[in-house]
Symmetry: C3
Subunit: 345 residues, 3 copies
Amino acid sequence: MPAKTNPGRFFEDYAIGQVINHAVPRTVSGGERALYHALYPARHALASSDEFARACGLRASPLDELIGFHIVFGKTVPDISLNAVANLGYAEGRFRLPVWPGDTLRAQSEVIGLKQNSSGTSGVVYVRTTGLNQRDDVVLDYVRWVMVRKARTDAPAPETVIPDLAPVVAPENLMIPEGLDFTNYDFDLAGEPHRFADYAIGEVIDHIDSLTLTEAEHMMATRLWQNTSRVHYDASLRTDGKRLIYGGHIISMARALSFNGLANAQMIAGLNAGAHANPCFAGDTIRAWSQVLDKADTPAPGIGALRLRLVAMKHGGTVGDLKDADGKYHPDVLLDLDYWALVPL
Amino acid sequence: MPAKTNPGRFFEDYAIGQVINHAVPRTVSGGERALYHALYPARHALASSDEFARACGLRASPLDELIGFHIVFGKTVPDISLNAVANLGYAEGRFRLPVWPGDTLRAQSEVIGLKQNSSGTSGVVYVRTTGLNQRDDVVLDYVRWVMVRKARTDAPAPETVIPDLAPVVAPENLMIPEGLDFTNYDFDLAGEPHRFADYAIGEVIDHIDSLTLTEAEHMMATRLWQNTSRVHYDASLRTDGKRLIYGGHIISMARALSFNGLANAQMIAGLNAGAHANPCFAGDTIRAWSQVLDKADTPAPGIGALRLRLVAMKHGGTVGDLKDADGKYHPDVLLDLDYWALVPL
Amino acid sequence: MPAKTNPGRFFEDYAIGQVINHAVPRTVSGGERALYHALYPARHALASSDEFARACGLRASPLDELIGFHIVFGKTVPDISLNAVANLGYAEGRFRLPVWPGDTLRAQSEVIGLKQNSSGTSGVVYVRTTGLNQRDDVVLDYVRWVMVRKARTDAPAPETVIPDLAPVVAPENLMIPEGLDFTNYDFDLAGEPHRFADYAIGEVIDHIDSLTLTEAEHMMATRLWQNTSRVHYDASLRTDGKRLIYGGHIISMARALSFNGLANAQMIAGLNAGAHANPCFAGDTIRAWSQVLDKADTPAPGIGALRLRLVAMKHGGTVGDLKDADGKYHPDVLLDLDYWALVPL
């Protein structure tokens, strides 16, 4: 009898245009919100308070955008990255609709690019992943590319297709939740006085706060998103006995730490690019800094968009210092994320 | 003034026919579900998605059957096993009704067997424990027997009564949730293509995935079920400074790991037997394997029942290898659980 | 461009009568309740079961009073204690209204006392903090005083104002939730038979149970309450690599441990005083004991009030032994809390 377990897909198992419906839809509730607040020092008011959200024109507090992102990402792991050697990048991410308690999320990916490596033993797979709710509305989508091993090295190389990806989501393509209105935004309740006009392109913000990671926390987080990649859970897989922390855990940690200086960057609207620059382990103490990369108007009342670079680093890193002279990330840089956030004017 | 704390019951405190109403009813919500998904790599679709559950004829996603089991079990601890030397076995477990968010659970046990040990210092207590919801409907029941110390060794031995327990819950006695229908079961969303007919009696399934346990996680889990046994929490009680992990934590961990190969074993319907073969501690890396022990039809549309042995073991264990030549569990075997699961035809 | 991060307030930044609206309102749900039960061995029936609460005249199970307290406290940290040297005391705490799942809490503090220290480098700030729900009803209030550093040591000393604080909340000022009625209280479901008349003033209760603290748990708890004080999270801030555990974590742990002997001390109604006697770290094993300080009638049906001293201590401590001959807390005493609880007659 053949094995019933999922071996994951290998490079030769992907074809351009292939659509994969990922397994295990997931209904979210206030439970996921509470856990998110226990796992990360999240304080952005819109994802914390129904009252604050209503004063901003929404019907209730949406779940943090990254909850939706992690759940959708987690569903793709068994089909996309179980045999991945490296998670190479993100592009064209858009948060299209809020995720509310009670919603059920599922995920779908389309293969949009393939390129076998010169070694012939692996290749790069580009997928556009879509997260849908119970009404089949798209709540978010993004492109991700990963390097995946071949199981049969003699499998023929596919025709190389490299998708034409926007380096940045154009601000006019950002989707703003229906009704969102920052005209009567309460800066006291939000925690900081800084508005759109107070941020200058190029400005670097040191988020000051820091915390030391533990095994239990990152495993709980990663399981919560039903991410099945074994390297995050099994200390016996590496010779050093360490568990690799899911990159998304660092995204959420850095985003939550960025409250201190970016308390009014309330919602993530777009994900332009992202690199998990170095691996991260329990015991590491992390900090974050941001740089304002761009600013844009939006058609929504009282709302501007800041394009932000969010960097997570281990202690030893220097705020504002990302790469060495050769363009290589410093070894203490963990994450370099480029996103659009919605802020009050 | 006499001590106000609960010393627990001793062997001589039990009598055949005695009914104990256990304390502290508990209302569950989406919070318990979210925590379950954070603590265990649970992915069975029926307990994850309201939409999937509705497509299977239920009104919403029920809580994982083991949430109900752990809560009911936890309530019995102060009355049944606070002075237990060993948890000896389970039998005749039936999951009778789904537990929904919003339900309030309480527990009751009847003493159905007693046998003093030849040493005269302890004895075996058999109880049938019943979990009830806020409508006094039975949601689950099972027999458990434990070895309990005597406080007064001169207390007379009770008449020996050993209950006549079914070695296996007869498939015709399994209770299938009203409305459950796997006729239009979505195997893609569930995560695996294997249906009832694809499983053969005797077949062994290696669930492949593994994870390393931590102190924080097992303590959070055990507290969540209001299990008060101090050995799980206090590192100073053993000379080696270890906290004994609640056996139910291993049951849930193994069941969740079994998704990989048994993704369609959606619901636990019966608990035939169970042994916590060896103690387990933080730092242990665990894996699971299953063996198909039997197969049975059910009257419900599109639904069959698989009788499964679920084994959890530490690294070092061998899939399919349970006991030595003398019939003793290998030291790396942690759990040997015999249960019925409902699967699509 | 000036730093956008919050440096916290210094002693010279406070003035008598100043009112601070603290940031980041928070909506709570069953998720916070589930996490509370996972983080603490909480078993008091009223905060566990909707059915039990309804039988006591409430519309549902309220969240544990300490959830409200921690959330309100956490909101004050960025404004009150970010630059605090020490948390000196509590007084005049009253739990005025239950907090229900779905409520949104915010916090406000008024400066009611100031006293510069003789060194001129710091001073004591007294605030009365009020927690409000979405209807602007006060759910709880309390006085706290902290020692805060000066940033500019040449800033002039303010006029000394020391508020006149009641040593104990007078029992007639306790607020009992509307409808609460213990006339038909179910002692079996609550877990212990002891009623108001069974407790004697002066009586000491050893709560017996104990547990060993972990880093992951206290950090999750502290984040859950959006308490931002970095000393709780960053192992690199102290030369010994330890993270200071939030004092409120010990309050909740001790209160939960006190179930064993005080299962019927269902609700906290008043907070008379409190001292975090010594710092606490992961790895410490803690126990709790209580002393009955006073008893009082209440106008509510079937309900009395016990004034209790709740003491948490590390292993090594002795039940009933709080201070040395000089009136100094023993080094193994962690918490000395003086509160009023509502118990059935």
